[in-house]
Symmetry: C2
């Protein structure tokens, strides 16, 4: 048996969650953070919403910061799972590129926590971005690259980089929305990806 050390494995590793109380707490914390931002939420608030004593939260999570990280981790895991599932039943590599991009961009835009912090507490966003951003991108990249390799078994091209470029385009659309590309609906996103991003793939050998 080998030790899993990839970012993907680390981020997608199964969670114990014996009794569902962790889940209740994380749900409450997520709801609070999404509604009020990070700064204005106290552990007490989370406890009240979860219907739990404050001390219980401290028994499960070492401190507020780690609670936040646990919330983020779960959201990241959901995000990655969404990408993984949407690209699982793979047709062509082109299809994987398109669906990976569409789902990735949409899921990121729909992340209430992310957009909340980005818009109402930008000062805490950049730090979080440099703390988690790279790892999340690597994990998502690994998933997509895997899909591409599966779709093109013989092909030895650099799928990692192709996948990362996809993701970086999505990231920049998220962070700098006011460019020439609007990409509003799912249809627009898909059309753009199909028309332009599939070109990143070399024609199959």
């Amino acid at each position: 048996m080998t030790m899993d050390t990839t970012p993907l494995a680390g981020l997608l590793a199964a969670v114990p969650d014996t009794d569902g109380l962790d889940t209740r707490i994380l749900d409450a914390a997520l709801a609070e953070f999404e509604t009020y931002g990070l700064r204005r939420v106290s552990v007490e608030d989370v406890a009240k919403r979860a219907g739990v004593a404050r001390t219980t939260i401290y028994r499960r999570f070492t401190n507020k910061e780690q609670l936040l990280q646990a919330v983020i981790l779960r959201e990241v895991r959901r995000f990655l799972t969404a990408i993984a599932e949407a690209t699982e039943r793979l047709g062509s590599a082109e299809e994987a590129v398109v669906e990976g991009f569409v789902v990735g961009l949409q899921a990121a835009r729909d992340q209430a926590l992310l957009t909340r912090v980005l818009h109402s507490e930008p000062e805490s966003f950049l730090p979080q971005l440099s703390m988690n951003g790279g790892a999340v991108m690597l994990a998502a990249r690994d998933i997509l690259a895997d899909r591409l390799r599966r779709a093109r078994p013989g092909d030895r091209q650099d799928f990692d980089t192709v996948a990362e470029v996809l993701l970086r385009v999505a990231v920049s659309l998220l962070l700098v929305p006011d460019g020439g590309l609007r990409l509003d609906g799912e249809d627009e996103i898909r059309a753009f990806a199909r028309e332009h991003l599939t070109r990143l793939l070399r024609p199959s050998p």
Copy 2:
């Protein structure tokens, strides 16, 4: 005679700068902002460094914010000029893609003001990004798209979007450096652009 209304024209429009005093002030302001950030610099500091009375600055610029915007505008103009010049004597469209990306990314990374604010005053960076980021990207996109069209006179493909994707990849490398792609030296950047980004171009007709 037609009115120029493109972002490019607006940003690249010639500056009067009658006497060179504006330049002295802008030089001083740039140096101060690069060294100490935006918050810690007073107009007095700028005046001292420029060897000018503080009131003079207020005669030339309406307020501190507008002085900052003038500094940024000049830097943006330099940035765009660098891209425009580096891609002027165009060979193939592929060459334009590669050089545009290399010069754009390097120039952005070497912008002392940008990196200064990004790292030491992130809270003021995101607002600036949404204020100016889109326009700058549009202007740079127009320049690059123009180069591509010139290199492929008959070709009717969507060069605007190709150019924008290039730029967005560069932006994301700037904002999220800790991914799988390091792209440290000029050679690495160029190799990446040549290998992957030129694929965004459709083969010539």
